[in-house]
């Protein structure tokens, strides 16, 4: 017994903290799984593609044109990355501000998902910017205060910092830095308030970006209410993402779980919230449709696509969430959440890419290098999530910190 304990203590720090208690050779061996092989293949193609893009410019790597200046790096990486990361501020405010303590077990993974979501959205943005090395200029030197983009830029910069601080206690527990952790935990309420402020601003402003293109965005998607749509739908996306992510985590990280947590109960609770938010979103969209007055366009092909989004991706999942929550059908709720996440992705792509420049002669279709870059960034995000969850107390709490204050 004593010998065993001292053997654990004697293991070098890196073995204990980074290599999951294995020797270097064993650790490398443990990485040779079919899943990691796929990841390796994606990175082996994706990283050279990203290097190629920076070496030869956007024209060489993308299908962007003078008429279609924004593609999936904005529409998917940035808009969807940020929207799907909204679970961070939603869950944090539910627990720390509204006092819904029972959701505490899903806050940490939600914050981690949000943090990684933002980091990889920003990486996607860096790929998209023609002159990314000029990023400090709008931040510190030449302020484009009339630009919605300026607001988005500052909010994303500040909120990514806030998310890092919200996540940091988990890293500090892993490193066993008790004082630093204690200090940050005390900031939780303040950080949560700031997180809600910044998220309200930039989630809506990502939609407001498109307000100045009324003659380019299809009238069924263009509305003065886009900022509100983006904010509300981001909440639905964030909650759905938490449902999906917690379900997947509970499958993938069996050994890391806190088995006291009744995930099914939390899932149906989240489903109730998602049902209400999606229903509100549906009604706001209806209001926008009435406000725009483009009823005749509903009879066109674009109208069919719009109705498919409205009914298939908003109204139906809202009702399914409500039904699933009432009848406690957790599997139904989980599939509905995945469908909703897909629906928000479709919405963001509609606004930024698909229904954008709908009346132009040529239509933008992403190049294979754009798709590979996006897949690579998502893969890297998932890998970071795995790396962190396997080491840090994200899905469960360390016994030391349960009542050590």
């Amino acid at each position: 017994m004593r010998n065993g304990a001292s053997a654990v203590l004697a293991r070098p720090w890196i073995t204990e903290k980074v290599l999951l208690g294995l020797g270097p050779r064993e650790y490398v061996k443990s990485l040779l799984t079919p899943g990691n092989l796929v990841v390796g293949l994606i990175l082996a193609v994706g990283i050279p593609v990203i290097i190629y893009r920076f070496a030869f410019g956007l024209g060489a790597a993308t299908n962007l044109t003078q008429q279609a200046p924004w593609g999936i790096w904005i529409g998917f990486d940035m808009l969807c990355g940020v929207a799907l990361a909204a679970g961070g501020f939603t869950l944090a405010s539910a627990v720390y501000i509204l006092g819904l303590e029972e959701y505490h077990p899903v806050v940490r993974p939600a914050v981690l998902t949000a943090f990684l979501g933002y980091v990889f959205a920003v990486l996607g943005l860096l790929c998209d910017l023609g002159r990314p090395w000029n990023l400090p200029i709008p931040m510190f030197h030449s302020f484009g205060t009339t630009s919605v983009m300026f607001e988005v830029g500052w909010c994303v910069f500040l909120y990514t910092t806030v998310l890092a601080l919200e996540f940091a206690p988990q890293a500090f527990e892993w490193l066993n830095w008790k004082r630093a952790r204690h200090f940050l935990v005390k900031l939780t309420l303040g950080l949560t308030v700031v997180a809600v402020m910044l998220s309200t601003l930039h989630q809506s402003s990502l939609g407001a970006l498109f307000l100045l293109a009324p003659n380019k965005l299809h009238p069924l998607w263009y509305s003065a209410f886009i900022p509100i749509y983006f904010f509300i739908s981001a909440i639905a996306a964030g909650v759905s993402m938490v449902i999906v992510e917690s379900a997947l985590s509970h499958r993938a990280f069996q050994s890391r779980l806190d088995h006291h947590v009744n995930l099914d109960q939390l899932t149906t609770g989240l489903a109730r919230a998602a049902a209400i938010v999606l229903f509100a979103y549906f009604f706001l969209k209806l209001q926008g449709l009435a406000d725009g007055g483009h009823w005749a366009l509903l009879a066109t092909g674009w109208g069919a696509w719009y109705l498919f989004e409205m009914i298939g991706f908003i109204l139906v999942p809202s009702l399914l969430f409500a039904h699933g929550a009432r009848t406690r059908r957790v599997t139904l709720v989980r599939w509905t959440a995945a469908w909703t996440v897909l629906g928000i992705v479709v919405n963001r792509l509609n606004v930024s890419v698909i229904a954008m420049n709908w009346n132009a002669a040529q239509h933008y279709v992403p190049s294979w290098m754009e798709v590979v870059t996006s897949i690579t960034l998502v893969t890297m995000g998932v890998q970071m999530f795995r790396w962190v969850v396997n080491r840090m107390p994200v899905l469960r709490e360390l016994p030391d910190y349960r009542d050590a204050h």
Binding site: F54, A55, G57, L58, G59, L64, T65, Q66, P69, W70, S93, V95, I97, L98, G99, E101, H104, P105, L129, G130, R131, P132, N134, I137, P138, H141, S142, F143, G144, T145, T146, S147, V148, M149, F150, E151, G153, V185, T188, L189, V193, V196, M197, T200, S204, A208, L209, F210, L211, L212, A213, N215, K216, A224, P227, E397, Y401, R402, D403, H405
Partner: protein
């Protein structure tokens, strides 16, 4: 939890700081409204003969390679657009039973330009003198100016690894030195008239409403996108000459201003509102005989396992 004086001050200070932080927003880059007599050009498409001297003069003044297919009639076989190496192009438009018409395209130099308002780094600027100019050293290459422009004018150097946005400058430098823009100074047919906007509008109306006038009674650019420095008149509807007919009669920045105006309110109203909700949730927990949860319990983790 009672709101103690200290807590109250903290909230007040946070709200105040937020209000101050949001102030620079009111100082607007794009609202350096151009003077009333802003320099402008009237394009009378009925007078244009399609000689493309303006293209050549533009290329020379901006150090661009000479215009495509100089002196070749075939240049009109396809519709051309402005590009990174051509800040202005002339296209030919034919219709049955109507005379051939040519239309020159370049930056419209809006009075309140969407591109300048959209720029995160003020790389595009509406100068008080009138021209809308570009400062490449500030540019991030985000291409939001291209999204913002209702006329699709800014063009991006996609082929470059260190790309710039390029467009007509209204020969701002020449104008500063008292010269007319290069294109207008070489026009042999009188299709391009350089002058002050007010005077040109008046002259244009005179032509439009003269007895027996063949002109369509619409000055393109008078109200499009809130008004532009380049104004067009024609005897054919301008959408038949490659002009966009779906441009709003409203300045582009005015579309995003309401959203930006909400920022100070969110920054000042959210903190007290959220702190209020927090206080309620704490009281409710106390009333229910629980230990208050939330962030202010010495440690949130404590609660669930207490």
């Amino acid at each position: 939890m009672r709101i103690r004086r200290r807590t109250f001050f903290k909230i007040g200070a946070a709200a105040g700081a937020a209000a101050i932080a949001s102030r620079p927003r009111e100082a607007s880059a794009a609202v350096t409204h151009a003077r009333v007599d802003t320099p402008a050009v009237l394009v009378d498409t009925t007078k244009c003969v399609g000689c493309r001297a303006c293209e050549a003069a533009c290329a020379e003044a901006n150090g661009l390679p000479g215009p495509a297919l100089a002196g070749d009639g075939q240049v009109y076989d396809s519709r051309r657009d402005t590009g990174t190496q051509a800040f202005t192009v002339v296209n030919r438009f034919e219709a049955k039973g109507a005379p051939v018409r040519f239309a020159k395209k370049q930056c419209m130099h809006c009075l309140d330009p969407g591109c300048a308002s959209a720029c995160i780094a003020r790389a595009i600027e509406k100068t008080p003198e009138g021209p809308v100019v570009y400062h490449g050293e500030h540019c991030l290459g985000c291409r939001y100016c291209m999204v913002a422009c209702p006329f699709d004018v800014p063009k991006f150097e996609y082929e470059s690894a260190a790309p710039y946005v390029r467009k007509c400058t209204f020969c701002a430098e020449r104008q500063a030195n008292g010269m007319a823009p290069a294109c207008t100074s070489v026009c042999p047919s009188g299709a391009l008239t350089f002058g002050t906007r007010d005077a040109l509008l008046e002259g244009a109306r005179e032509r439009l409403y003269r007895p027996g006038s063949q002109y369509v009674r619409h000055i393109y650019g008078e109200r499009e996108a809130g008004g532009t420095s380049w104004l067009y008149i024609s005897d054919r509807p301008l959408d038949q000459l490659g002009f966009k007919s779906n441009v709003l009669m409203q300045s582009i920045p005015s579309l995003t201003q309401p959203a930006l105006a909400a920022v100070p309110f969110i920054l000042t109203l959210w903190p007290p509102l959220l702190m209020g909700l927090y206080t309620f949730s704490q009281k409710r927990a106390l009333a229910a005989g629980e230990r208050p949860g939330g962030a202010h319990a010495a440690d949130p983790e404590e609660v669930r396992h207490a």
